[in-house]
């Protein structure tokens, strides 16, 4: 559930991911989680994630392909990985490395490459801060492997990997960004697995004790309640495989006279209150069910939902000049610069 909230509307449904992770833990026992700072310089860490269409992923449910993807990349590198890391903590992708970690009996890193969900591979902090995206492999469940030894940009890797994924049947797994311990320390967003767990537990506690989920979440991830209200309008279209559109939320309680608008492209990007921008990507804009605290993903948005909108400050390394070129408003086609609008200290 925590991964769902950090998905800021995107990242897909973590339900099947949860079942798969539970099955791996049942078969191989608990998975060890280590901090990036525990890594040694000569460690080898590999980033794993799912690639394809979520609609296919619920029908052709992934198996243990990520363990094979890991092994294929290890074979090419001639070296065993000492740990695996998630590329994206938001949504269903966050749990993919657990499969490989369980099967290979290696730890998973408490951290990831996004601190939330973003739509494309090149938006990972690893690549923004200079880690090489190749060699990379894409594996399907049938036993096919595609190895990419060279791509002129992470964006090109993304394009080639997707072309292969379609042939493989639209639900595959990739392994990329082989890193040493130092690179993980310097480029990953630290502590996000724990963060997702804490946020999820915060919501569950609120549900069990019938207390306010918003307060609980904000204690687990300090941020700001941006708005409360009811979804009053929804416009969406799918172009080039992305769900784009906006949602309008009519305020209630102290926001009674206001309207909030959120523009999304799979993930929530920009929030406006009465046409004034109040939060922008890469800061997290999370829509949750006001009553239960359950995350509401873009595909589940519906007229009449009573929602609370949270703004959570993005981790520091998504907000440097270098990162903002990729994951700031300009990276999503807006013509304005990023500005930090939440008057609370960034953690």
């Amino acid at each position: 559930m925590g991964a769902g909230i950090l998905g800021t509307g995107g990242g897909g449904n973590p339900y099947i991911g949860k079942l798969r992770a539970q099955e791996i833990v049942r078969q191989y026992g608990n998975i060890k989680v280590i901090q990036p700072n525990q890594l040694k310089d000569d460690d080898l860490v590999i980033c794993l994630g799912g690639i394809g269409a979520p609609t296919v992923g619920v029908e052709k449910v992934r198996g243990d392909e990520s363990a094979r993807a890991l092994n294929e990349l290890e074979n090419y590198l001639g070296k065993k990985a000492t740990a695996v890391i998630s590329g994206e903590i938001g949504g269903s992708n966050s749990l993919e490395p657990i499969i490989a970690a369980g099967k290979n009996n290696i730890p998973m890193i408490d951290g990831d490459g996004m601190g939330r969900a973003f739509p494309e591979i090149h938006m990972k902090t690893f690549f923004i801060y200079g880690v090489s995206w190749t060699p990379a492999v894409v594996c399907d469940e049938k036993g096919n492997t595609a190895l990419f030894t060279k791509a002129i940009s992470a964006h090109w890797l993304e394009k080639m990997a997707r072309a292969v994924t379609i042939q493989m049947g639209c639900a595959a797994v990739f392994a990329t960004a082989p890193m040493n311990g130092n690179e993980v320390k310097n480029t990953a967003i630290h502590g996000t697995l724990t963060l997702a767990k804490n946020v999820g537990e915060a919501v569950q506690n609120a549900q069990n004790n019938k207390t306010d989920p918003v307060n609980n979440i904000l204690q687990a991830y300090p941020g700001k309640l941006l708005f409360e209200g009811k979804i009053s309008d929804l416009a969406r279209s799918t172009t080039d495989g992305f769900a784009r559109g906006h949602v309008l939320i009519e305020g209630s309680n102290q926001y009674k006279k206001n309207t909030l608008k959120i523009e999304f492209q799979n993930e929530n990007l920009i929030a406006y209150i009465d046409n004034k921008i109040v939060c922008m990507v890469p800061d997290l804009i999370c829509i949750i069910d006001s009553e239960t605290g359950d995350p509401i993903t873009t595909e589940l948005l519906r007229y009449g939902f009573r929602v609370s909108v949270l703004a959570l400050p993005a981790p520091e390394n998504l907000c440097t000049q270098k990162a903002l070129e990729v994951v700031g408003p300009k990276g999503f086609g807006y013509d304005f610069e990023y500005e930090y609008l939440l008057n609370i200290p960034r953690k």
Partner: protein
């Protein structure tokens, strides 16, 4: 003329309808075998009627779900997933409650087969492999078999061929095929298919004797069973697909309310003793749920009415301080425990009884409730119902809301955006009337590749598929209309694949 019958846990209700007039209604206790109460209802309703005028008898029942909840009448079931190397990490029954899985009822197998989203084969099925499995099933004394192929809804030929081979080996053993049961979503569809296989025995004992009633009473009518989505099926189909008749109650109640009020589009608010159920009518049919439906702890993706149930009704217990509305209700015991009936628990009914606003008279007429408490309770009722209504409404426009149920008197009159409609007559047999109105539906959901087909060709293919489905189920071709078409592109990919869902309905072909 048609007879509609609703067999509930306690009562069996029935109504005789001629075209658009309700001729007669009847209510009796539900017998242990549903056959005798159904038979009694029919006898009562056809008194003084010409037998040949009764075309059809349509029955809705909650019997199957009771067997499932009590875990009785369940056969030894085999599950075959046509998947080749794919999806093997999550075995069948992965998310089922352990008390069923541990019953030693199941035999699960992965074998060759399965398709990609665009219809290419993951692998072909193997006759030899299936024949060998059948030998195992014989020694395990398997009574019912569920077959689930990856993307079988794109093209069902592998499932169909598998069934053929099984029945060559094992005779007439019931085989449930996933493409006939559920939609995209491997585990949920598999769960629904397994449930179907498990209910086959129960359906036999519930439905099989109904045809005898017709013979006994020398009627020429045909018997139908209502389904979860407001449509109906023949007894033969209900015996093959019992899962579709697992929960037709909420839908029948909404369809009945639509008929009795004449409203085709709007909300139905059914306020009972313990809960309030809210659903949305679109063209006289309930809007369907888009999320997973949980049955006795089993996650499925049935086509079912999207009904929101909140714990609020005439029997809801009142607390002394905020929140004034308890989650609990006195339920059936209202007639002994509430103030109005001489008990000592304050319920919502008592609040309204004190102001003589209930729809019926009560034994204890001298109840005094503080005005302040009464106002606070009413305010909470209003905010609870408003919240639930907002969740179910699909737009901000003012819409009609049909109020039904024994607790209808608690409905606040002043909720924004609602035009309240009360039903004057026959609302106590709304479910039976809903049964009588059931139609035949057809459905298609497939993923199409836009490489070799235009959008128009794809939509036409989907329509044809749905119409053929309806005709196969007994619909009169001339009356079939398309009620819903939905296109969903596959996200995160350059769009060369699209899911199309089409739903059609029509009247029964009486010839």
């Amino acid at each position: 003329m048609r007879i509609g019958i609703d067999v509930g846990g306690t009562n069996t209700d029935a109504a005789l309808i001629n075209k658009n007039t309700i001729i007669k209604t009847f209510k009796t206790n539900t017998s242990k075998d549903i056959t005798s109460s159904v038979s009694l209802c029919i006898k009562e309703l056809i008194k003084n009627q010409e037998k040949q005028n009764i075309d059809s008898i349509i029955i809705g029942t909650t019997h199957l779900i009771n067997d499932l909840i009590q875990r009785k009448n369940l056969p030894k079931t085999a599950i075959i997933r046509l998947c080749g190397p794919s999806t093997r990490l999550l075995k069948p029954l992965s998310d089922w409650p352990l008390d069923i899985v541990d019953k030693n009822l199941f035999s699960s197998h992965f074998i060759s087969g399965g398709l990609e989203f665009d219809g290419r084969e993951i692998s072909s099925i193997s006759k030899l492999e299936i024949q060998k499995l059948c030998d195992t099933f014989k020694s395990e004394k398997i009574e019912s078999i569920a077959v689930n192929g990856i993307f079988a809804s794109v093209n069902p030929y592998q499932e169909i061929e598998t069934k053929k081979i099984i029945q060559q080996e094992m005779g007439n053993i019931p085989v449930s095929l996933s493409h006939q049961i559920g939609r995209i979503g491997l585990l949920e569809r598999e769960n629904a298919t397994i449930l179907n296989s498990m209910l086959i025995k129960s359906a036999q004992s519930t439905f099989a004797n109904l045809n005898n009633i017709i013979k006994e009473l020398k009627l020429n009518s045909k018997i139908y069973i209502t389904q979860n989505d407001g449509t109906m099926s023949s007894i033969e189909d209900a015996l093959k697909y019992p899962v579709f008749s697992l929960s037709s109650g909420p839908t029948n109640s909404m369809r009945g309310a639509s008929y009795l009020s004449g409203i085709k589009n709007g909300l139905v608010i059914d306020i009972g003793g313990t809960s309030t159920d809210i659903g949305m009518l679109i063209n006289s049919f309930p809007k369907e749920s888009s999320i997973a439906v949980d049955f006795s702890g089993i996650r499925t993706n049935f086509r079912m009415a999207d009904v929101l149930s909140i714990p609020l009704g005439g029997g809801t217990i009142i607390n002394k301080q905020k929140p004034y509305l308890n989650e609990l209700s006195v339920g059936n015991e209202i007639t002994s425990k509430s103030l109005s009936f001489g008990g000592n628990i304050t319920t919502i009914t008592d609040i309204f009884a004190a102001e003589s606003k209930t729809s019926f008279s009560l034994p204890n007429k001298n109840i005094i409730i503080e005005k302040l408490l009464s106002n606070n309770v009413k305010q909470e009722i209003k905010s609870k119902i408003s919240l639930a209504i907002d969740k179910m409404k699909t737009s901000a426009d003012t819409i009609d809301a049909i109020i039904v149920g024994g607790g209808a008197f608690i409905m606040p009159e002043d909720i924004d955006g609602l035009n309240l409609i009360k039903i004057a007559k026959h609302s106590e047999v709304a479910n039976a009337i809903g049964s009588a109105l059931a139609q035949v539906s057809g459905y298609s959901e497939k993923v199409y590749s836009t490489h070799n087909m235009t959008r128009e060709e794809i939509l036409n293919a989907s329509k044809h598929d749905a119409i053929n489905n309806a005709i196969n189920k007994g619909a009169d071709k001339r009356t079939i209309e398309i009620i819903d078409v939905e296109e969903i592109p596959l996200s995160y990919l350059p769009s060369n694949a699209i899911t199309v869902k089409t739903k059609v309905i029509g009247n029964i072909n009486n010839n």
